[in-house]
């Protein structure tokens, strides 16, 4: 008997599953197909302006920084200002996301922009977020060439652009959007929920920023995209 057979045999024996388990199968199939929502906190269920404000507060609560921008054209100056404020070289790396390519980076003459995944040599990266979640100030990142996962974790500073209209109140809205984009049961290779910069509490339970991932996270919300 293989490990698999042994495990399933014991589970069925312990649960006393007799021959005909059609009723059980129907219950399981229905839950998987209908994916009913659980309890959703009222906290995030707000009209757009208040939702954005909650997102801003929660992002800061998670120890990230955040700026609100009127349009995509303001992104280069905001990125350059952030890099200056942290005494970083004017250099960023981003992926193939079309929305990033449409940003007028050339407006910042000294800003060097390279494209591709990270090999650990970059100090700052820029990603475009699939969505934000106001409930917990969370960014939702999808893997792929548009926004390579390594850009989320290897550089010291992660800058993330998110469109205000993509900020949802809760996680459930995000799941529905992913179903719409990828199909009922499919997911991108990785979905990263990011809430603040990397930290560790492993030395005497004191939270210190900058463990293995980015030491700081900077969020740029674009109001009119």
């Amino acid at each position: 008997m293989t490990g698999r057979d042994a495990i399933f045999a014991t589970i069925k024996k312990s649960l006393r599953v007799a021959g005909d388990d059609r009723a059980r199968r129907e219950i399981v199939a229905a839950r998987l197909e209908k994916h009913p929502r659980g309890i959703i906190p009222a906290r995030g269920q707000k009209p757009k302006a208040e939702r954005t404000e909650l997102f801003r507060q929660m992002v800061e609560h998670a120890k990230a920084s955040i700026v609100m921008l009127d349009s995509k054209d303001d992104v280069p100056a905001a990125v350059a200002a952030y890099l200056r404020s942290k005494n970083l070289p004017q250099s960023i790396r981003h992926g193939d996301d079309e929305r990033l390519s449409l940003i007028p980076w050339a407006k910042e003459r000294t800003l060097e922009v390279t494209k591709g995944a990270s090999d650990g040599a970059q100090l700052a990266s820029v990603s475009y977020s699939f969505a934000g979640v106001a409930e917990s100030g969370t960014l939702v990142m999808l893997s792929g060439a548009d926004n390579p996962t390594t850009l989320n974790f290897l550089p010291d500073h992660h800058l993330v652009v998110v469109d205000e209209r993509d900020i949802a109140g809760d996680y459930e809205t995000i799941w529905d959007r992913l179903r719409e984009r990828f199909g009922a049961n499919a997911m991108p290779r990785v979905v990263n929920w990011i809430s603040g910069p990397s930290r560790s509490g492993d030395i005497e339970q004191t939270h210190l920023l900058g463990a293995h991932g980015p030491r700081s996270l900077h969020v740029l919300v674009v109001r009119n995209s």
């Binding site: 490990g3 042994a6 495990i7 399933f8 014991t10 589970i11 312990s14 649960l15 059980r24 399981v28 839950r31 998987l32 994916h35 009913p36 929502r37 659980g38 309890i39 906190p41 906290r43 609560h61 998670a62 591709g116 995944a117 650990g120 917990s136 100030g137 969370t138 893997s143 792929g144 390579p148 996962t149 390594t150 989320n152 974790f153 809760d170 996680y171 459930e172 799941w175 992913l178 049961n185 499919a186 997911m187 991108p188 290779r189 990785v190 990263n192 929920w193 809430s195 990397s198 560790s200 509490g201 492993d202 030395i203 005497e204 339970q205 210190l208 900058g210 463990a211 293995h212 991932g213």
Partner: protein, 474 residues
């Protein structure tokens, strides 16, 4: 090879722990933080208790249909290009993982935090077979340098002080200048970050655990604050997830329910910094990510717990709140429990997984104060389950003679109310005579108690006589 069981020696372990000045210092520091942070986070979420009820019901539903959700999960992992390996025992899990590592000629394996790999003793097994496992969670890295096991579910190095970490780093990182300053915790963190960066990039295989497995999509979920799990699984050629069968949840919505509870209860955060849903290996157009994705699902006795007296224990989502609120854990720490899982959840789970003969001591390590059940996010009745074990231990004559005779003696009194009342009020008068209105520092036949703490001298009448008076007054 599995993690050796040291639980039968709980009493001796506890005595050692109480005499360990470093440990006592570390425990005293951690107690308040966990409790206060959880409380603050819970107070900010009015739906918290309703979420707990629904999480409890959801887990019961999953466990009643576990075979079917596992089938669906397996199907969707395969459909998204991953591989599922089933391991009935810890040995099987280790062999499967070694097989993958050998096929890929792996010399170094980066590891995210995984209690299941502690259960199987994976690190020792890989080392014996010439593969070097490197723990990447800071706490796990520290205890790996010290040759220790985790003493807490989410804070594995809870028992270590800053000064001890500094000494460990100086001993292990000999390539760094000895005169460097490591006074501040931030310098310790920076040093660990730098040392581990190269390990992440060098490792051929990355192994992580999983907090949840989603049947609907075949995804595995990890939560970390450091980002170590993500680097572990993103930079290696192959990502191996080692998890156990009860971690499966039906849908992404169901995962959201548990995620809303997990971090709040564990550390007082709304969410951990990184919650990562992984589905299969690198896709055709992906510029990064692992080329292979494997899931090793361990049973190790869990399927036997279904349908029985201890099924409720399988609801556990490993937040650590029960130990954070446990007076016994606060006094002796996690290592005294002698196996992988400490605190109240460990006291119930250990005998289930290693047998009551070896783990039966642990359910006795409880004052039955009930705080663990009060804070459990999936409402596991931990005191009741510990009592079940005590009964079983008693039935099987596994307790020491002194305990059995003591219980018999107590029962003889308890069954005769008049005698019981007379004896307790006599005992109380005697104790008051010795201790006055203060505390007793020494007590004949009870040095096991008074060696570590004073015994409060009785302050008035017995509970029964007070109760009787109150009844008459009403």
């Amino acid at each position: 090879m599995t993690q050796a069981v040291n639980s039968p020696y709980f009493n001796a372990n506890a005595r050692k722990a109480l005499d360990d000045a470093f440990l006592q210092k570390a425990l005293a520091r951690s107690e308040k933080g966990f409790i206060e942070r959880r409380k603050a986070a819970v107070e900010k979420l009015p739906e918290y208790d309703a979420l707990r009820d629904s999480a409890r019901d959801l887990k019961d539903h999953i466990l009643a249909h576990l075979d079917l959700y596992l089938e669906a999960y397996e199907k969707n992992v395969i459909a998204s290009g991953g591989h599922v390996h089933w391991a009935a025992t810890a040995e099987e899990a280790n062999e499967i993982i070694l097989g993958i590592c050998k096929r890929l000629n792996a010399k170094t394996v980066a590891k995210g935090k995984s209690m299941i790999s502690e259960e199987t003793g994976l690190n020792a097994y890989l080392e014996t077979n010439g593969i070097r496992p490197v723990e990447t969670d800071l706490g796990e890295y520290i205890i790996q340098l010290r040759g220790e096991t985790p003493s807490h579910l989410i804070a594995p190095a809870l028992h270590v002080t800053k000064e001890q970490i500094e000494a460990d780093f100086r001993r292990a990182h000999v390539e760094l200048p000895p005169e460097r300053n490591l006074d501040e915790p931030t310098s310790l963190l920076a040093e660990a970050r730098a040392m581990l960066r190269d390990k992440f990039l060098a490792a051929e295989v990355g192994i992580t655990g999983a907090n949840f497995l989603i049947a609907e999509t075949g995804s595995s979920v990890i939560v970390t604050n450091e980002g170590n799990g993500d680097l572990t699984q993103t930079l290696a050629k192959a990502h191996i997830v080692i998890s156990s069968i009860e971690k499966v949840v039906p849908t992404r919505e169901d995962a959201a329910t548990f995620l809303r509870l997990l971090a709040r209860t564990a550390s007082g955060m709304d969410l951990s910094v990184y919650t990562t849903f992984s589905t299969g290996a690198r896709r055709e157009t992906d510029p990064d990510g692992p080329l292979e994705y494997h899931v090793v699902l361990l049973d190790n006795g869990r399927s036997n717990m279904l349908g029985g007296k201890f099924q409720e224990m399988l609801r556990c989502i490993r937040c650590g709140a029960c130990m954070n609120h446990c007076p016994v854990f606060h006094a002796v720490g996690g290592h005294a429990y002698g196996w992988v899982y400490p605190g109240p959840m460990g006291a119930v789970l250990t005998p289930s997984l290693v047998g009551v003969e070896q783990g039966g001591q642990l359910p006795n390590a409880s004052t039955f104060c009930g705080r663990c059940e009060e804070v459990c996010p999936v409402r596991i009745p931990l005191p009741k389950l510990m009592r079940n074990w005590r009964e079983r231990e008693f039935e099987r004559h596994l307790q020491p003679a002194a305990v059995r005779y003591g219980l018999g003696l107590w029962a003889a009194f308890a069954k005769r109310p008049a005698l019981y009342r007379a004896a307790t009020s006599l005992a109380m008068r005697t104790l008051r005579l010795f201790g006055g209105k203060g505390r007793l520092r020494q007590l004949p036949l009870a040095s096991g108690w008074t060696r570590y703490r004073d015994f409060p001298a009785p302050q008035g009448e017995t509970f029964q006589s007070q109760w009787k008076k109150r009844g008459t007054a009403r």
